[in-house]
Amino acid sequence: MKSSTTLKEQLPGRFRGSIQGAAIGSALGFPHSGSSRTFMRALGSEVVQGYVRHRSGYFPEGQHGASVQLLSLAADAIAKEGRVCANSIVECWVPLWRENRIVERLPDVDVAMSRWLRRGTSARGCACGPGEAGSGALLCSILVGLWDHDEPDHLIADCEILTGVTHEDTTVRAVSVALATVIAHNLTHHDVVLADVIDGAAEAAARIDPDVPDRIQEIPMMLATPERNAFEQLARTSDDGFDVDHAGVSSDALPIFLVALHCWLRNPSEPVEVIQSCLQTGGAMEMTAAVGGALVGSSIGEDRFPQALLTGLVESSEIIVSATRLFERQRQERGRRSS
């Protein structure tokens, strides 16, 4: 069997790795979502050894969170349209709310989607306004990184379209662009070069928000500081009353992205290590682990994830089909444009 060595040959695996990595991180974190940092650290490596049932008892082992539902449907919408189109993404998402199939509440996305439901998919401006910095739809921006990895000129515009469905906040938009940029970087480079990753993400985010790039630039220094200090620095929020050391990461997009990026950069080629360290941050760990899983999956591909985690996912075949369809449509669109 021929080994995959070139980036071109690795590309399908990295596409699938991103989406499956996100789903694995989400499924491992979903049962424990909201647990404290102390509790998660006490679980140790047990947390990544296999899926467990959600404490509510309503969901099977391997059930991922609502953010992966959105991710999978958005991937289908992009593959169907051949471009990032807000209306078609909304049309794919609306049934989740109309038929109450969403597995958990995402407060920020709920607000936006209830407006879309009331006003119809052709309405304009249903997104949450500035100040709503939740991370409900953050994961979807990895699709833009995958879709536009070879067309960086379109990346920011497409990310703005996708994020604009649910959020108007400049921090969320800047974080989404930064995440998409890192994913695109991983798909176009053999190795992770720290300076390139950080500078690329900061530069892209700077086009939307002046503060996010400064926070991203803190990460290289944090790699050399003790994990606890780094975590407190990266997970801090504007809300002084939120105790990150105890409660873990808040549900805002910026701390989740920074913590996930930090966890990934500490072990960029070890998927289990990355997801475990994301889960041990507590709080909104489901989203943190999903972002961490997507980052590591986009840099190493799907093969390095434990087989048990890959096959144990609920709807694993649908996730693989979505990722494959997105990859093929992306290749088809690029071929059409270049010809």
Partner: protein, 371 residues
């Protein structure tokens, strides 16, 4: 001691000033924003509301302004445009593709016409068309109103009563109805009281009035000189020196940019000349006019007869007009003449220079003593 809080959104700066009953500035704080206010199409209006609220909270936490002392709030803001949907939420600029506007200066009236032409469905679902300051006031008080400055600059008011009453035909031509436009209220009038949420967050007194507002240039012109027919005021701005004269309402053919309604609505300022002699460059000052400027370079050398040039009370500093207009709304200044003659009198450039050097010496001495 009660004070009036003036909010000024101009250029790339948010300014908050506390002014007492006598017109003395007793608190001042400003902060830069990343996108200037004239580029209103690039920023979600709620982002501006958040910025102003954050600066106010900072001023209160720092003890610059005592929350219980604020009696009323006034505002001046560069013209902007906020389209408010049927749920009284702003239509995000990006959803109307305003982020694709690439000109340096786009007027709100042009943007409004083009947007409604491009998206007729948006026009049908709009609840209101606001200026940025109207949106800020709405968020803080829940009251729907706009100013004469916005009404005039929209070009949608009747020729017979410019800047006062909406013209139903002009509105119909762009797909709007009269019911979608907010009522036009003179600048100093009381519009609404602060919402409970803001009261809880800031500690400002329950029942604090938020008054109508105006645009920064109108505010400066209004406070610069007592508005008698024919009085000339030269505004020294970055772009140059412009001469404005107090007169009656404009005719139907007057371009929108050549006239500004006074905040009170009883007179107008007409632009007489775009480029007049600029004393900052050593030109001889125009006689019988009053000079006003928001900013004067501290290193500025005046190679002119400084006893001949008359300058306004707020020459070289942010205008106190937004705060004082709120005071008028509260009924603090029933007779306005003392405001221009006693509290904010016109002075010669020489007096202004002497006063400024004296105040700099005092502040330098205070700093040394503190050190």
């Amino acid at each position: 001691m009660s004070l009036l809080l003036g909010i000024d959104l101009q250029g790339d700066t948010i300014t908050l000033q506390g002014v007492d009953r006598r017109g003395n500035r007793i608190a001042y704080i400003d902060e830069k924003v990343s996108v200037p206010f004239h580029r209103f199409w690039q920023v979600h209006p709620d982002e501006r509301v958040r910025s102003v609220r954050a600066l106010l909270l900072h001023a209160l936490h720092e003890g610059l302004i005592r929350p219980g002392a604020v009696a009323a709030i006034g505002i001046s803001c560069e013209p902007g445009l906020v389209l408010v949907d049927s749920e009284m939420e702003p239509v995000p600029p990006r959803s109307l593709n305003w982020n694709e506007i690439d000109s340096e200066k786009a007027n709100p009236d042009e943007v409004l016409r083009k947007s409604l032409e491009q998206y007729p469905s948006v026009a049908r679902t709009l609840s209101a068309v606001f200026d940025l300051q109207d949106w800020l006031r709405y968020r803080w008080t829940g009251a729907v109103a706009t100013t004469r400055s916005f009404a005039w600059s929209s070009g949608l008011t009747r020729d017979t009563s410019p800047g006062e009453h909406w013209d139903a035909r002009a509105l119909e031509a762009i797909g709007l109805g009269s019911g979608q436009m907010p009522p036009v209220i003179p600048g100093p009038h009381r519009i609404g009281t602060l919402q409970e949420e803001l009261v809880r967050e800031t500690g400002l007194a329950r029942g604090t009035w938020f008054c109508g507002g105006t645009e920064p240039r109108a505010a400066r012109l209004w406070l610069a000189a007592e508005p008698r027919e024919g009085v000339g005021i030269v505004l020294l701005e970055e772009q140059g020196a412009t001469l404005w004269r107090v007169a009656g309402p404009p005719s139907a053919s007057t371009p929108l940019k050549d006239a500004i309604p006074s905040p009170q609505g009883d007179h107008w300022y007409h632009r007489e000349a775009l480029e007049v002699s600029d004393p900052r460059n050593g030109d001889t000052p125009v006689s019988d006019v009053i000079y006003d400027a928001i900013r004067i370079d501290p290193q500025q050398q005046w190679n002119i007869d400084s006893s001949e040039m008359m300058v306004s009370a707020d020459f070289g500093s942010p205008s106190r007009a937004p705060a004082l207009l709120a005071g008028i709304g509260l009924g603090w200044y029933r007779d306005l003449r003392p405001l221009w003659r006693k509290r904010c009198p016109v002075q010669t450039l020489q007096q202004w220079t002497e006063y400024r050097s004296a105040s700099q010496q005092v502040s330098g001495q205070e700093t040394r003593e503190k050190t």
